[in-house]
């Protein structure tokens, strides 16, 4: 088996996804509650997963194969 030393706990694995998921719920509901600022909150919090995805994929691509 692989070494246990750099294994992550469930808390560490799911900390970031839970944050993103909670923000998604805020975003989904915000635009339902009101217009104007509420819409802006919704756009930002729902665009976050897209931006994070692009950030992680582009970051590793620019490092390139070694």
């Amino acid at each position: 088996m692989l070494a246990v030393r750099n294994r992550r706990t469930l808390g560490q694995i799911f900390a970031a996804p839970i944050m993103v998921g909670a923000l998604s719920i805020v975003g989904l509901l915000a635009a339902l509650i009101g217009d104007g600022w509420w819409d802006a909150v919704s756009w930002l919090s729902l665009a976050l997963p897209v931006l994070l995805y692009l950030f992680f994929v582009v970051r590793r691509k620019s490092v390139g194969p070694r």
């Binding site: 692989l2 635009a31 997963p49 994070l52």
Partner: protein, 362 residues
């Protein structure tokens, strides 16, 4: 699921696509505050131009206060999905157009997305697929944990073989979108039950409200629609009419106009409230809030369509949909690889982990 994601994509922009592909007659330009045309006159004008003669619904255009629709069918019992929409100018009451939408790109996409041209069984089948989609998402969360034990959040091993890269993309996009896909997936499932929810309401609350009319014959001559709408608006202050269902249609009883009213915030504009108007006397019979199962359906609609936060929200909806397609595509690839090679994805990754180790520690 791939079919649903792909057909759903153009539907997010169905207005823009229709505007681009098809021309429509523009309603007259009127100064703000111009009163609306008398609905009885508007209705008569609509019926005069149509080959079909029986009005089912009178619908205010959500997006354009200058236009409204009359949905007409062959008879009062004819299937409303075959109805023709007649577009009318809401200020002048004049006929605008009545295009046959069934050949349109957006219509074909819509039917493929909603019921695959198979009616209620098609809907319920797609609903079942939606439930399986939600189950797949949850099982994805469960296998995300072991797969990320040795990796940082957002790890993308760009220099590794395709199977590893695509696994990382699948994990990353999947976990980032998990809430959105669950919400859109599950509200989509609820939407497939719309017909059943409507029937439940008819046999439940609506039957209760119209109990005293059960043994009465349907009215031979209908009272004025305009008067019915006026009575409804007065009975439910603070709400504006969204659509009127004529007596005998799928949304009404045989003896009533039902005026469905909406509020003016994003949520309350979806929560329609029915006001029942006796079509023989023109008097208000009853008006109640919808039961919880109809309210749930009403709330599910915007959450599935993404049409409640302006154009930016719809663009985000489209991008999230594309990412979901990527998650599905990489998921299918990983599953095929696993089956074909007889080698688990885990092992393919483990084989390269010696190479990976220095980078992890650096």
């Amino acid at each position: 699921m791939l079919l649903l994601c792909i057909t759903g994509l153009p539907l997010i922009f169905h207005h823009e696509i229709d505007d681009l592909l098809h021309s429509e007659v523009k309603p007259a330009d009127v100064p703000a505050g111009t009163p609306n045309a008398d609905l009885d006159r508007l209705l008569a004008n609509a019926l005069a131009t149509s080959s079909l003669k029986v009005p089912h619904f009178l619908i205010w255009d959500r997006d354009d206060p200058n236009a409204m629709f009359v949905s007409v069918g062959e008879s009062i019992t004819s299937d409303p999905t075959n109805n023709r929409f007649v577009r009318m100018d809401s200020h002048t009451g004049a006929y605008l157009d009545s295009p046959d939408v069934t050949g349109r790109f957006t219509y074909i996409m819509l039917r493929l997305h909603v019921d695959m041209f198979a009616g209620l069984p098609g809907k319920l089948f797609l609903g079942l697929m939606g439930i399986l989609f939600c189950v797949a998402i949850i099982s994805g969360i469960v296998v995300y944990a072991p797969s990320m034990r040795k990796l940082d959040f957002g790890a993308y091993r760009g220099h590794r073989p395709r199977i590893v890269r695509w696994l990382d993309i699948h994990n990353l996009a999947g976990i980032l979108l998990v809430m959105w896909t669950l919400v859109v997936g599950f509200t989509g499932v609820i939407n497939t039950w719309a017909d059943l929810v409507l029937k439940m309401w008819q046999y439940g609350q609506l039957a209760e409200m119209t109990a005293q009319y059960r043994d009465r014959p349907p009215p031979t001559k209908l009272t004025s629609v305009q008067a019915a709408v006026d009575v409804a608006v007065r009975a439910v202050p603070g709400m504006t009419p969204s659509f009127v269902a004529f007596p005998g249609t799928a949304f009404s009883s045989k003896s009533h106009y039902i005026v469905f009213l909406k509020g003016d915030t994003p949520v309350t504009s979806r929560l329609l409230k029915p006001a029942l108007i006796d079509a023989e006397t023109g008097k208000l019979t009853d008006s109640r809030d919808m039961p919880w199962y109809v309210t749930t359906l009403f709330i599910s609609q915007p959450l599935h369509f993404g049409d409640y936060g302006g154009l930016p929200l719809r663009i985000i909806w489209a991008v999230l949909d594309v990412l979901t397609i990527i998650v599905l595509g990489t998921g299918i690839y990983l599953w095929l690889r696993r089956r074909k090679a007889g080698v688990s994805v885990d092992r393919a990754i483990a084989q390269g982990s010696a190479v990976d180790a220095p980078q992890m520690s650096s």
